[in-house]
Amino acid sequence: MFTIFGIPSAALFGQLLIGLINGSFYALLSLGLAVIFGMLNIINFTHGAQYMLGALSAYLLLKYSGLGYWPALLIAPLLVGAIGVVIERLFLQWLYKLDHLYGLLLTFGLALIIEGIGRNYFGSAGLPYTLPDSLRGGQNLGFMFLPNYRVWVIVASLTVCLGTWFVIERTRIGAYLRAATENPTLVRAFGINVPRMITLTYGFGAALAAFAGVMAAPIYNVSPNMGSELIIVVFAVVVIGGMGSIMGAIVTGFGLGVVEGLTKVFFPEASNTVIFVIMAIVLLVRPAGLFGRRA
């Protein structure tokens, strides 16, 4: 069929900027996964469901208490973070002594439950949620139209990602976290409440996912299924990055978003498989992942 190629370089840059939105979501989500994995050694399959809960909370907040986008950005992550804390205390804490695979299985089961209940009460078609008025419209850059909302998403995710990196890598509490990952017993001996740190870390990871969910709500279809397909791509992103470093997760997330965006321009039919193909290549060339620790 007829496709339109041959975009001039300025427009290409514009396309990339817009395409970076996917990268923002990949970065936020893989950051959350990396933080949780780093502390708990659990792959949080529920991450997709927590992302969905964030979007769902935004919708519910609007519908039942009239609170719009901006309050939701703060409240939804707190709500879902609290749910995360409950999940960790009720379910996850019993698994730390077991094989890591059980964590994956349990969080998979939790995801099924959360998404199933969501479908039950909210259907599958989707729930209405529109752009906040303050972020409507865009800038006409001459060669293309750049929506304000996209700029906001990219800026917000960069800020949150870098902020998280800073806290973990450059502050005292971050140092405790990193130490507890390596040697929890020793850190406990220093009087630091490691189990509470673990619980809060999981809650924080869930909150990150929910934050991404709220940002997604105005532009992506808000439905109980919105997390499950996304999470598998995020897994691939995480394998490519290797979960060795926080910065690695962020860079890989944004980078792969850019690659996917480019593929959409030049070879759209392949854009949903390109990340998996890259994963296969990285596995062949550098099995530990681009930023992984052990080979």
Binding site: M1, F2, T3, I4, Q15, I18, G19, I21, N22, G116, R119, N120, G123, S124, A125, G126, L127, P128, Y129, T130, L131, G137, G138, M144, F145, P147, Y149, R150, P218, I219, Y220, N221, V222, S223, N225, E229, L230, G261, K264, V265, P268, E269, A270, S271, N272, T273
Partner: protein
């Protein structure tokens, strides 16, 4: 003497009455999607519609007893086939209704035909059900892909939307929609300015929407469905597509999708459906009753659910006329012989290839300020009469017809 006369009179009455008072038992199975993509367009709403039809019918025909069972095929063809096999062999189900998802529908149509029961397909879209894959036991209600492409394409072009750009889901269904609609558009004097294919379940449509925008086509045809359609339209709002003067044409859109988008985002969207709850007094009254049966605050019935009701009613009429539901082929033949009449679709017929004919309507989604009450979503732009809305009989390639 009086006693003898009395007995004779009683015997006479019984003898006359017995032919029409014969008890007929019918079991209907609503095979639908309860949990995923089609759950809001069909699912529990379809079951409610079937139960309504059964209750309405039994009220007027006390000698007919109708049982309605239901199951979720989970959008899996093998689950659907397994359920249908079990229903017919073990549970003595006589008629299978609904079945959204053309893949499942085509599979069960085969099984039902082999076992000589009836398939009232009000859920699936594939026009193959009345084309090359038609069966003597299948009746296809509500809509099909040909009608969607033709209705939407033709009506929009006639309404002034003569330049098109397509956003197509890159798999067989999307290609088929695109191909059919392109043909209709060009045949009616329109021009196709371009098309782009996107993978199924794409979340970010920005680069495709930019291409659509720069093509300056008056109409952006969405040859996709479900979440892809919704995402494309939602992000179209981001890019100010509608504000810039272009309109979206949804090639497979249901009322629940519009509700999911909300009027602010969906305004101006044009598409074809065969039922709208607010179309006339009959549909309004029916919807009120459906709402009570369905017990779901505020949800709207879709055209598929209306199809379940209409199809079930007509099926029961045929069964009552024949006296038995046992021979599927015979019942369907009777259904084709009798004209249809119900509050949801109005008057219509069922053709030799199993296609149910009734009018179709081109709708446009209202602007938020135009909506006067909840559920007031559509403007009626055009009515397509029944004989024009569906593919001509001779073009279908159904072996029942040409043979």
């Amino acid at each position: 003497m009086r006693k003898f006369l009395g007995l004779a009179a009683l015997a006479a009455v019984l003898a006359c009455g017995s032919a029409s008072a014969q008890q007929v038992n019918v079991k209907i199975g609503v095979l639908t999607d309860m949990a995923s993509l089609y759950a809001d367009d069909t699912g529990p709403g379809s079951v409610a519609a079937a139960k309504m039809a059964a209750a309405d019918f039994m009220k007027d025909h006390p000698n007919v007893k109708v049982d309605v069972v239901s199951a979720d095929h989970q959008n899996k063809a093998d689950v659907g086939v397994q359920i249908v096999n079990q229903w017919i062999d073990v549970d003595h189900v006589d008629m299978i209704a609904d079945v959204p998802n053309s893949g499942v529908a085509l599979a069960v149509a085969q099984v039902i035909s082999t076992k000589n029961k009836v398939f009232v397909a009000s859920g699936p879209a594939s026009s193959d059900l009345t084309g090359p894959k038609c069966q003597p036991t299948t009746v296809h209600m509500t809509y099909d892909t040909w009608m969607l492409a033709n209705g939407t394409g033709k009506a929009i072009v006639k309404n002034g939307g003569d330049t098109w750009f397509f956003l197509t889901s890159d798999y067989a269904f999307g290609h088929a929609l695109e191909r059919d609609t392109m043909a209709v558009v060009t045949a009616n004097g329109g021009k196709v300015l371009g098309a782009v294919r996107h993978p199924i379940n794409t979340s970010d449509f920005s680069s495709f929407l930019l291409q659509a925008q720069s093509s300056k086509a008056k109409i952006i045809g969405l040859a996709n469905a479900g979440g892809d359609t919704i995402n494309a339209i939602k992000q179209g709002a981001e890019f100010g597509i509608v504000a810039g003067g272009q309109k979206f044409a949804g090639l497979l859109v249901f009322a629940p999708d519009v509700a999911a988008l909300g009027l602010k985002t969906a305004q101006g969207l044009m598409f074809t459906e065969t039922f709208y709850w607010d179309l006339n007094d009959a549909t309004r009254a029916w919807t009120k009753r459906w709402d009570k049966e369905r017990n779901s605050a505020g949800k709207l019935p879709s055209m598929n659910m209306a199809g379940v009701y209409a199809g079930t009613m007509h099926y029961l009429k045929a069964v009552a006329a024949l006296g038995s539901a046992a021979d599927g082929k015979a019942v369907v033949t009777k259904m084709k012989a009798m004209p249809t009449d119900d509050p949801v679709f109005g008057k219509g017929t069922i053709r030799a290839d199993g296609r149910a004919l009734h009018p179709a309507y081109l709708f446009e989604v209202k602007k938020p300020e135009e909506s006067k009450y909840p559920g007031d979503l559509y403007i009626l732009r055009a009515t397509i009469p029944a004989d024009e809305a569906f593919r001509p009989l001779k073009d279908g390639g159904c072996p029942l017809v040409s043979g």
